[in-house]
Symmetry: D3
Subunit: 171 residues, 6 copies
């Protein structure tokens, strides 16, 4: 199986913030952003795996800049690293009000997907070969984030999470 | 401001998994679950705060049991702890196929919300007074989860996260 | 087939009133309430029957208190009585504006469902054993409401509807 | 205020039964039919009143012929009679599978609406002048159905419902 | 195969302009009108063909009068002419604000459909026999519009389009 | 007002074909493609104009390759030429089934938009300066397509449409 570049999985989505997607303050609901990111990231993981994929985990997401009704939302997703049958994806979200010339980065997130074959069993996916500096940094960080996911899901003991541990114990 | 019980904020939602919510394997998309949990949890935080609330953070969520098209999804959300103007909520998701007598717990998650006044500024919320054993355990864990959120959002240095640190360094 | 309690079929739904659900006065359309009640009641009948169910009849519903855009709507449905292959369900609807501390009961209704087996033929359902005073009152009234349904559907002559008749002829 | 003809309020809607509108047997949910009928009937009442209208009551509806996914649904609504500020509408629903040359009448219903002025207060509407035999029959029956609505809503005592009473006591 | 009248394929749709269908000026988006016209015209072509149909072409559509949020949109579609396995349909769109007594014709368009048999292969459809003056004019114009469609799709050379050519070269 | 490049207005949308978007053959409805193209093209025109825009015209669109349920649809829109207050946009649509490694270009279209100021009056937009060969070809063709639009909308006499005329009269 030939390794692939992060660039090959890049997926761009554009969405309009419609009235039904907003809260009483006319800001886009956080849950809707999480939903759109899941779709963009799943397509990106599917491009890498060339298989059907299902969401396995969503890492901590924080919401800082509100997105307004009527804004144009652009979402960019790409695969950062593959682990046998799973893939971590990195997702960035920008919100833009074009007539007001306002554009902000509103969110970043990591979602993990598992590739499945036609019988619904986990399927092997190609490795990732990062090229740019940013891609390499995300590739390296993927291992630490994976440990955190396993610890939080109760599938790894905290003191076995070597990369994480060094983070919390370094002075 | 009088402290309130977690029980006062309990919110129950029931949803049907419709064809448009599923992936090509006819399983509910992870992003849709994240969206529904956000709505249930926001209503529960609103009940506690008696103010408008907005999503501030979503903690790591992992997806293990697939939910099928046609299943009945039940979501229960409640506030676990309040921190001045923010509230952590705990959300549980069950999926059920009634004619086939199959019911599984599919997800658990913690979402954090901020209460806003009519000018959109953070507003003070009542404290929480846990009653049951489970409520007390979640109340105590909230501090550790908050440290993790701050560390992951880059607003606290790992070595200042005392509760987390002890977790990773204990033998 | 063992009789079941109304409590076993209780189903609670929570919905937000979104802009697309409202009329030009920004009140929730009656038809949307009827739709939500149908979903909640169908799930409740399904819990009782442990079979697929289809809507057979909706009794007269009147709309008195308008529900506003942005309100939280809570719907509670439960089975009141079973008649061989059909079940009557009782549905209550509350509308709530939490920041304004306003909560009203907006509707009550009775919907009837028929249970179907895998060939789409009517299937026997368990009997109901009411426990509380309210459950007993609704259980008793179910017979009179059923007569009215049959008369209105042209399947019973008015003067054969004994329970109804006594109602209109008593002084 | 000049009386108007039922014909002037006729409203025709055509809808496709989409996957999300159906139950696990791929039949259109009863609640969705109730919702569509409400929209068609509200537009018809609006045409008669030339005012904004809100749903006041739905009379008993029974569901006999299932409507299938992919069917074309045609809904015809018209005002049958006006009572000061309220209007009764009559709604007919047909379901059709064109390639299979199957067309059935699936439902009939009466919905009542109240006209509102710009301050949200009930507003006077024109009288109806029925023309055809069917229109006259529905015009005459409207009084009896109105009594039933008032009795069922607890706003008229059964023994004051003269038209209804004669129905149940005639031999 | 017996020829049919345009009248037999007439399809009427009524839609409400909801908030999610509008642009930031609260006018109905052009794309939504194109979507509704496609559904109405497809049902009308299906009535003529008594087969499943798929959209083959949309002719130039221009948008002149804006349609407002809350307006009632009425769409009327009918077949104008049949060509072996394809049908041209004519669609008219009116927008109406009933309380304000404003009604305008907002659009006209021609959509072409192909009938398919159960194997997805083009299927023969009945001829059209126009009756009224308008129907005859549209029947005659259909040939010229078809030439334009073929030229624009690159399937006919401009100088072979006899009807069109005469249009541009006549003094 | 400084001329802008077509590249500055490029907008990419990714959509999944969901069950509710398809016809009984499980192919995406033509009307839904027209709707998505309108949204992508409107955002692209908005980027060029930095003003609110409304759809003014859609040129002839033909549908050749069916798009299947579950496919990933990618839409790319960009401005080709500006005419005072209006802009022509070019839109390309690809459909892709990733696990089956099938990707086809399914549609091309030209939509025209008008820029509006805050009072809803047409507003001047920057000129376009094409750079690549394709951009220049589309820039040149825009004049001829504009003539056709005006002729078809009845706002220009065919024999005044010089560019078009030469097309039909050249040997």
């Amino acid at each position: 199986m030939k390794a692939k570049k992060p660039q090959e999985s890049v997926t761009i989505m554009t969405e309009l913030v419609l009235p039904n997607d907003t809260n009483p303050l006319h800001n886009l609901r956080g849950g809707k952003v999480l939903h759109w990111m899941d779709i963009a990231a799943a397509i990106s993981a599917q491009k890498h795996a060339e298989q059907v994929v299902v969401t396995a985990a969503v890492d901590n997401v924080s919401f800082e800049n509100p997105i307004r009704e009527g804004d144009v939302v652009t979402i960019k997703a790409q695969v950062t690293r593959a682990f046998n049958t799973s893939m971590e994806t990195f997702i960035e979200v920008w919100a833009e009000n074009i007539p007001q010339k306002r554009k902000v980065k509103s969110n970043e997130a990591f979602y993990t997907f598992v590739a499945l074959d036609y019988n619904g069993r986990p399927a092997q996916v190609p490795e990732i070969k990062p090229e740019t500096e940013d891609e390499k940094t995300r590739f390296d960080g993927a291992k630490r984030r994976r440990e955190l996911r396993l610890v939080l899901a109760g599938r790894m003991k905290p003191n076995e999470a070597k990369e994480l541990k060094s983070l919390f114990t370094s002075e």
